[in-house]
């Protein structure tokens, strides 16, 4: 199999009239999706986009999947961009891509006017209007290789510039074969898509649907603030399976959504993105006692997930839910600080991954690629690349892998992977900020910013809103007279952190 288009084509043959994707207002069958994608593909192939990035600035939806598949027919790879992020960040991403065009709608066209060197904007409707040029698509098909990129997903970068993870067809096929088989996803499933499409959690929905012939029901983003809307949608659309970010599942439990309604056909709940709090997992299990629950682990760089754990026992608050064991065809192992393998239970090591699942690195960023994708230090004999996740893990007594912590200053907040360094780099751009330091209060789920400089917290928060996505703007601002320093002259994070905790305790005592 050379490309994921074979998934689409097989499903279009088997289930031509079945709904492939549906959103709030529209839907398309597998046959329609193939037809529309070929139209867009023909228009794009005429421009020539083999092995080129094609940014798509659109909300997730039926139109968008037609465009994404069109890009793939034309031999290009898609980069879905979130219109809600600040123009500055969007500009950074577009200049990294050096793309000639951006596919978008009216709102996106307006937004892109303010971004220098954004490339030509193309209205997506224009691409779906023309005919299909089968001969042209055939010439693309003749050249196709499974190592061609399928998509690029951008993640936070510690230097202040987002990094674009490039993933090939081969890696997605490798993962999807295992993923659908392992958890028994079939054409009878209805997948409730929560993840935004600039997140690789969505890859599991899109390709599980295309591969098996399951319908993907795209849930509007706004529904996640309002449990009644969300649960009505899941019930009315007959959703059977969720592959959601942990933070999305926690919304339902935090707002006690199931006191209103429990969707009757739901039988599989899979989650990833951060550690699932046991209290929230137990809430879900109480209302869905017969459903399968799966903890999935892995960064974008290894194509969605590299390990899984099917919940098979009770957990009490404070227990660690394992990340389990590797998917077939992936090798997941721990290395200690001297690059020796850790196999005994209880000892921590960095989680490392090898296999077809490895991404092709970071787009136009050779330096960062070479730092993260390296030769397996355990193999002196031939080339074997591994990805060093930066996550620390250990085996429990049952031999299951468990996540422990991060090795650096990357955090998980609201399902987003964030480098605190990227926030600090943005703070440096704000006038009057002399120095700054951010820490993450994991217990209270707040990003805390300490800063030195003559600026009010409201002004600072507003300025950061222009530079960073919402979820990266700190929740708490603390002005300090002077940054405490360590002996080596670095900002003393530990001292800031303990002073912050003391001040919270004092406040509690006052109340």
């Amino acid at each position: 199999m050379k490309s994921i288009l074979e998934y689409l084509e097989q499903s279009a043959e088997r289930f031509p009239d079945k709904i492939a994707f549906a959103d709030e207002k529209s839907q398309c069958t597998f046959a329609e999706l193939r037809t529309q994608a070929k139209k867009a593909g023909s228009a794009l192939a005429r421009r020539g986009c083999i092995k080129k990035p094609v940014p798509v600035l659109m909300e997730k939806g039926v139109d968008t999947i037609e465009i994404l598949m069109g890009i793939v027919y034309a031999g290009g790879f898609y980069v879905v961009l979130d219109a809600a992020q600040p123009a500055g960040r969007l500009g950074q991403i577009l200049s990294t891509l050096e793309a000639e065009l951006v596919i978008t709608d009216e709102a996106g066209t307006q937004l892109l006017k303010d971004i220098p060197r954004a490339g030509e904007t193309v209205d997506f409707r224009q691409l779906l209007q023309g005919g299909t040029d089968d001969a042209l698509l055939e010439t693309v098909q003749m050249q196709r290789q499974d190592i061609w990129p399928l998509y690029v997903m951008f993640t936070s970068g510690s230097t202040g510039v987002p990094k674009g993870v490039v993933v090939s067809h081969r890696s997605v096929i490798d993962f999807m074969e295992e993923f659908t088989e392992n958890f028994g996803i079939t054409h009878q499933d209805v997948l409730g898509n929560q993840a935004p499409w600039d997140f690789d959690v969505s890859v599991k929905d899109i390709y599980a649907g295309l591969k098996t012939g399951a319908t993907v029901q795209i849930i509007p983003k706004q529904y996640f603030s309002f449990p009644m809307l969300l649960l009505d949608f899941l019930e009315e659309r007959g959703v059977t399976s969720l592959t959601w970010a942990v933070s999305a599942l926690c919304i339902v439990s935090a707002l006690n959504g199931f006191s209103y309604k429990v969707p009757g056909r739901l039988r599989r709940v899979m989650f990833s993105g951060e550690t699932m709090p046991v209290r929230h997992l137990n809430y879900w299990r109480r209302y869905l006692p017969d459903a399968m629950f799966v903890n999935l682990y892995g960064p974008t760089e290894i194509t969605c997930n590299c390990t899984y754990y099917v919940i098979d026992r009770e957990f009490a608050a404070g227990d660690a839910i394992p990340i389990g064991r590797p998917f077939a065809n992936e090798h997941v192992f721990l290395l200690d600080e001297n690059d020796r393998e850790v196999t005994d239970p209880g000892r921590e090591g960095e989680i490392c991954v090898s296999g077809t699942a490895l991404a092709l690195g970071y787009y136009n960023n050779r330096r960062q690629t070479e730092l993260a994708f390296v030769q397996n230090p355990l193999n002196q004999s031939y080339q074997e690349l591994i990805y060093r996740t930066g996550d620390m893990g250990s085996y429990n007594e049952r031999g299951e892998l468990c996540f422990a912590s991060r090795r650096d200053f990357q955090i998980k907040h609201m399902g987003h992977r964030i480098e605190l360094g990227e926030i600090e780099a943005a703070l440096e751009k704000v006038d009057d900020v002399v120095r700054s330091c951010c820490v993450f209060d994991g217990e209270r789920k707040k990003i805390v910013c300490f800063y030195q400089g003559n600026v009010e917290r409201r002004g600072l928060s507003l300025a950061l809103g222009e530079l960073l996505p919402d979820y990266m703007v700190p929740n708490v601002f603390r002005q300090v007279e002077e940054m405490p320093l360590t002996k080596n002259g670095k900002i003393d994070r530990n001292r800031l952190w303990s002073e912050y905790n003391e001040s919270l305790l004092k406040r509690k005592r006052r109340i």
């Binding site: 996640f224 603030s225 309002f226 449990p227 009644m228 935090a254 006191s259 409201r458 809103g465």
Partner: protein, 74 residues
């Protein structure tokens, strides 16, 4: 009402809560903002919001939120 305004301005300093009446419908509040508001007002006013209260109409304006809070306090 002052306490509510303080909470709202802390969470979303760039939104004009005095005059906006379509905070949800015009997408001025993100889902994260709404969750933060729910959590902060639950703590501050010692109330429990059920799914029946967490609907767009109750969050479209500061007045709507204030009415909801008062109903729950009684």
């Amino acid at each position: 009402m002052d306490e509510l305004m303080e909470i709202l301005e802390e969470i979303c300093p760039d939104v004009d809560f005095e005059s906006e009446t379509a905070l949800v419908d015009d997408k001025l509040l993100s889902s994260f903002d709404i969750l933060s508001i729910i959590s902060e007002i639950s703590d501050a006013f010692d109330i429990t919001l059920t799914p029946a209260e967490i609907i767009p109409e109750n969050f479209n304006s500061a007045d709507a939120m204030w009415n909801m809070i008062n109903q729950l306090r009684n």
